[in-house]
Point group: C2
Chain length 145, copies 2
């Protein structure tokens, strides 16, 4: 079973922000620290914004911040939000897919229960539990974008 | 979260075979019934064979059979086997990946626990519970391969 790379990156961003309460970090700086593509990270950050997990402040000292205390954000709700556009298997697609077993399938409900068990396990952990203090880059080393 | 298409197809094959104990069905016939590519299904069947879930009989009346009673095969063990080459996120790769959080990451153990909760939920269901009797194609309608 796989989570999308964008979900993985989204969790890393939140884990980084959780270790910097009160500060505002640019997407470019976080990308530098995480050593991942700033372009890819910007897309992930927009998805985190749509989920009300992060907010951004404009201006010279602007940047990203958690929209809520890290203790109030569970890993489960982040994963549910970022994975919502991915179907676990074909029959979980919005259009229902084309599996010929679909009308009488006795596996689908069991897969749904198992997915819920996965998410509920992740509901037990908050972003605060996973805070990551960063790579200790000096401010000047981070990209300006 | 996603399962591979090959895992999905592998489960469908076992669900079909579970409804035909004592019979031997060709991969081509199963592909026709499932309306999926016989080429793709043949690869999945080889993976199921490596996991000792299916065996094949050669000859005119040959074909695939479950290698064990359907009641003795859990969905969880099938999914574990077919998904073993896929890493849930980067740090679960065999080479460890390149995530800079890896040495001090507090999320990875929680992801591993959640994955185990998913698999344990699927351990509660056997292939027999999900048997699918097929599309009722007449024998002559199935491909010979």
């Amino acid at each position: 079973m796989r989570l999308a790379t964008s979900t993985d990156f989204g969790l890393r961003v939140l884990m980084r922000l959780a270790a910097a309460p009160g500060a505002a970090l640019s997407t470019g700086r976080i990308a530098d620290e995480l050593q991942v593509s700033a372009h890819h990270l910007a897309k992930v950050v927009r998805a985190l914004g749509r989920g009300s997990f992060v907010g951004s402040q404009r201006g010279r000292h602007g940047g990203l911040q958690l929209a809520r205390p890290a203790e109030a954000i569970t890993v489960g709700e982040v994963v549910r939000h970022l994975e919502q556009r991915f179907a676990m298997v074909e029959c979980f697609r919005a259009d229902g897919g084309h599996c010929v077993l679909a009308p009488s399938c006795r596996l689908k409900p069991q897969l749904a229960l198992a997915r819920e068990a996965f998410m509920q396990a992740l509901d037990q952990t908050t972003i605060a539990d996973c805070a990551w203090p960063g790579a200790g880059l000096p401010i000047g080393a981070a990209s300006a974008h």
